[in-house]
Symmetry: C2
Subunit: 348 residues, 2 copies
DNA sequence: GCTGGCACTCAGCGGTTCGGAGTGCCAGCA
DNA sequence: TGCTGGCACTCCGAACCGCTGAGTGCCAGC
């Protein structure tokens, strides 16, 4: 139906204008800026219908219209295409990320880059441990009953944990329990996915020499507990200063809860858990179940497919900003950066 | 002189009242809340002198007085004593920090604790590498010309770097260059302060077998470059949400530059470089040479004396807040937490 | 040298006015 | 049937006004 069609054009125009001007948009301004081929009066009728249906709303009588969360949702799903990045932006991505050797370095640069590109808060999750494989395990003795275990994954992530261990008894003379433990652990775990680690522990306990059982048990327990649990995932946050753009206009309450939530990480991590590579996920305003993110939108995507399985990401990255956000541009930036990061990590 | 004495009492009272109420304080209110034994009129005369001397100022005619940076400075230096923490606070510190095994864990908890105690932004520096000693070096091969070097210090800090190395030539058959390199590096560096590392490299290069020279050179270069330089120090920041306390009242410009600076880290790190254990350092408003910290104060102190030398800290920690800050309380909290962290690190 | 009294200043607050942007509705036209 | 111009209406926001109250500086007297 032709009417239907035009109404959606009107909705799209409203979203675009409101995002770029931050002022409620009226029928006259719309007619002037967009070639809709009809008069303001007609647009007003369409607006009345859109408001009826809940896509837009008026801050007060005799003001222009503002998109609702539902309006943004429709815009993102049906009215916009992810717009390709400019050449300059593509080049910026390469320039920014090339030359990073270290995983830490890659992630830190990524988060800065993304914050800069989108002028919002950027977040990136460390590659999930549970989907990584062990590359090496190192054991260093700190004290007689205290070991430092360092885990290095195939993604280049390095994690350390201190483990309290029982004292070694019955060690054969001249043996070096720590060195033996190291050999044992590496033999058992190197190359294995961390998700499978728990199942290997039982085997290992059976086959380990008696005098090492205590050590193996303590270390394995810590590894399984603290490294495989999703709660142990870490997040890097950058560009929080961008929250203050536009004064108190965006984020009507205050940005305090948002800052707290970003520091707490857990809310964002939960979101990141659902994310797949290639499929950009947008979560708008009230759709975020957590209160502190009401009023904010999150655009996220997975990066790096874990060994070719297309539906599992190594981790997620994304952008947090006001609902009044340039969705097509942000989605493009997020997707492009994720793709590039995925490549980088695949190389190393 | 008795007048002099009373004027300072007035200044102290002004600072205390202003900090607790956030309103410019007038002569009448002062006379009412503090037992100064003189009438408001007399206080007014004292205030006029204090204003003349630059310790206080009026936001506008016919408003109360507000301390200037100079006023706060005098207050901190001469009019206040660090006030002892309450029992509850002491207990909170212990409860919060006990049970942390890991260095990362200790620092993360500390920063949260300090932010909570002072209701401001807390920062803590990782133990400076240059003053730490090497506990262990681990080398893992990532690719034929790419090694991952993991450094573990006596403070429990773990740092990793990827090193591009030249291909090994002339290796004796059956030898394992990486293992040999590991042995060599550990023999040379373990127990040595990182600050002395540079001097050891030359020796090592001379004595190393010919086929390992290339590896040793590349790895040593990276170690010296990236680990000893002060720029490589890292900072943990927490409680940024506290910046929004008091709305836009504190931080008159906006808090954007402050957030940026905290993320950038370098400004804060420079401050932390000057810090000694035990001696709480307060930097007030305009005293901070960096623009973004004008309007903010930093209270910092060193933690952990590096092996008994009283004037060198392992690192610094501190609090960033508005100039309108409870200095005695903050100084007490900062000092107490630093002391506790120092103890914790000394144990491990 | 302190004090009470007094005239003065000025931010903040509530009330009022006014212009402009935007709306909804309606009658007329294709 | 659907679009359009016209019109009356609403209401926010800026500007203006006067008032009040807190606070000051100054001065004469104790």
């Amino acid at each position: 139906m032709a009417h239907e069609e035009r109404r959606l054009q009107v909705l799209r125009a409203i979203v675009q204008d409101y995002v770029s001007t931050n002022d409620p948009v009226g029928s006259k301004a719309l007619a002037a800026r967009h070639d809709l081929g009809v008069s303001p009066a007609t647009i007003r009728n369409d607006m009345a219908v859109l408001e009826e249906e809940g896509y837009i709303t008026q801050p007060h009588t005799s003001a222009g219209r503002v998109p609702t969360d539902k309006g943004y949702r429709f815009f993102v799903d049906r009215l916009s295409a992810i717009k390709p990045l400019s050449v300059a932006e593509r080049r910026a991505i390469e320039r920014f990320l090339d030359g990073a050797l270290d995983l830490d370095d890659v992630l830190a640069r990524t988060v800065r880059l993304l914050a800069q590109l989108t002028r919002n808060v950027a977040v990136i999750q460390y590659p999930t441990l549970s989907r990584s494989a062990v590359r090496h395990l190192e054991v260093v003795q700190l004290a007689t009953t205290r070991l430092l275990v360092v885990l290095i994954t195939d993604t280049g992530r390095v994690e350390q944990r201190v483990v309290e261990v029982p004292p070694v008894v019955d060690a054969p003379a001249g043996s070096d329990p720590v060195a033996e433990l190291r050999t044992l652990l590496n033999a058992a775990f190197v190359g294995a996915k961390l998700a499978d680690a728990a199942t290997k522990v039982a085997d290992l306990l059976d086959t380990a020499p008696a005098h090492l059982r205590g050590l193996v048990a303590a270390v394995s327990a810590t590894l399984v507990e603290t490294l495989v649990e999703p709660g142990e995932d870490r997040l890097l946050v950058g560009g929080t200063a961008n929250l203050t753009r536009g004064g108190a206009l965006d984020f009507p309450g205050t940005l305090r809860p948002l800052l707290e939530a970003l520091e707490e990480q857990v809310v964002v991590l939960r979101l990141m858990g659902e994310v797949a590579p290639g499929a950009v996920l947008v979560s708008i305003g009230e759709e975020n179940e957590h209160q502190s993110f009401t009023g904010a939108s999150v655009v996220s995507v997975g990066y790096g497919s874990a060994g070719g399985t297309a539906d599992l990401a190594l981790g997620g990255l994304g952008v947090v900003g006001p609902t009044r956000m340039d969705y097509p541009g942000t989605m493009a930036a997020v997707r492009a950066v994720a793709r590039y990061v995925g490549q980088l990590l695949a190389e190393s």
